[in-house]
Amino acid sequence: MTGATKKQNERLPEAEAIERAKQGDAEAFQVLYDMHRRRVYSLCLRMTTNTAEAEDLTQEAFLQLFRKIATFRGESAFSTWLHRMAVNVVLMQLRKKGLQVVPLDDTTDGNEEEAPKKDFGAQDPALAGSIDRIRLEKAVESLPPGYRTIFVLHDVEGYEHNEIAEIVGCSIGNSKSQLHKARMKLRELLKTSRAEKATKP
């Protein structure tokens, strides 16, 4: 792409890019890709924890979007439409791999090490004010897939429980329960990580 074309793309509003993309304008497709690629990629990466897989899923999500762009009527925000498509692409991939993405009451399948510990009178200092982004990202990465899916969709991406229930095929109550367990597990992981950091010379 030439410098002049790149500069033009930067000024092209999303609505215009969508209409041009419907006409088959290659540059318009790239504008839309550039606008949304980071967020789609981040969603895919957080849910799969694998960069190569996240790239493949990002590619597939955009291809599905571009194939269907002629049907976009603007009833919802374009980013919402794209994002929902990306989530479905990721979930389909996780299901193909046999990973638990539809939360059960117990996503740990009996593995007590993964289950968050119930909290009765813990004496650790509070986490508030001491959570850093990198440690949180690492902790999310190490969540079991079922917990991670719900946590990423709700707390990171901002989906409501009724939307999550519809997307992953569970009840609203189940979504709330799994989110709580995900947060409890993250609390445990963050406290452990903080304790390990404190003991290092």
Binding site: M1, T2, T5, Q23, G24, D25, A26, E27, F29, Q30, Y33, R37, R38, R39, Y41, S42, L45, R46, A54, E55, T58, Q59, F62, L63, F66, R67, K118, D119, F120, G121, A122, A126, L127, A128, G129, I131, R133, L136, E137, V140, F151, D155, V156, G158, K176, S177, L179, H180, R183, M184, L186, R187, L190
Partner: protein, 209 residues
């Protein structure tokens, strides 16, 4: 309220303001109060997590290639190369070239129309050939009618080809409208019509029994 009872109901109430006995329990229980505080801190920090990075350039390259192969985008113009081809020497017979292309297209249309079954009337070759038919611009041809004749497995491919070549004709016509004296714009339009003629011929060949 005991801690066990409170933590049992916590998933339902954590994302809203505590009230009643729940609020009362939090007032008196340091452990549950810190638990709620920690879980909310995790949720709030998660909301602030931004994009994690960039996909590599290969992702866009793959998308672009797939879109071109599927006919969803027009081939990208090479940088520095204008839509209008390189200037050629003007020819005194230049008017014959687009006229020839138009006649070739008309010929293709006539062949197509001749194949249409007549509606209750015998086919009269003399009547048909006694008077040259009115030339019809390519844009008037019913693409959908043509595509309906194409074998189903090939239909999508020809639809995509027609869409692409029709866009080329529109682009070329626009250039010519803006530069009526530009021979190269005229040549480009002629090329676009020739491409459309080719698509029609291929489509009709596919639809023959």
């Amino acid at each position: 309220m005991k801690c066990a009872e409170f933590q049992e109901i916590l998933p339902e109430i954590i994302d809203r303001e505590a009230a009643g006995e729940h609020a009362a329990h939090l007032q008196t229980c340091t452990s549950c109060s810190e638990l709620v505080s920690d879980l909310k801190a995790i949720s709030e920090e998660a909301m602030r997590l931004g994009p994690t990075g960039e996909p590599s350039p290969r992702v866009w390259a793959n998308i672009q290639r797939a879109l071109e192969e599927e006919g969803l985008i027009r081939p990208e113009r090479q940088p520095g190369v204008a839509l209008v081809p390189k200037p050629r020497r003007s020819s005194p017979f230049r008017w014959l070239v687009p006229a020839t292309a138009a006649l070739a297209l008309v010929g293709a249309v006539m062949v197509y129309n001749a194949r249409q079954p007549s509606k209750g009337q015998p086919f009269d070759l003399a009547k048909t050939t006694s008077k040259p038919p009115e030339p019809r611009p390519a844009a008037d041809i019913d693409d959908e009618q043509l595509l309906a004749e194409v074998a189903a497995p090939m239909r999508a491919e020809y639809a995509s080809g027609l869409k692409s070549v029709n866009q080329s004709i529109r682009d070329a016509q626009q250039d010519l409208d803006q530069n009526p004296e530009d021979d190269d714009a005229r040549h480009f339009l002629m090329d676009a019509y020739e491409q459309r003629e080719t698509v029609y011929e291929l489509a009709m060949a596919r639809s023959m029994p």
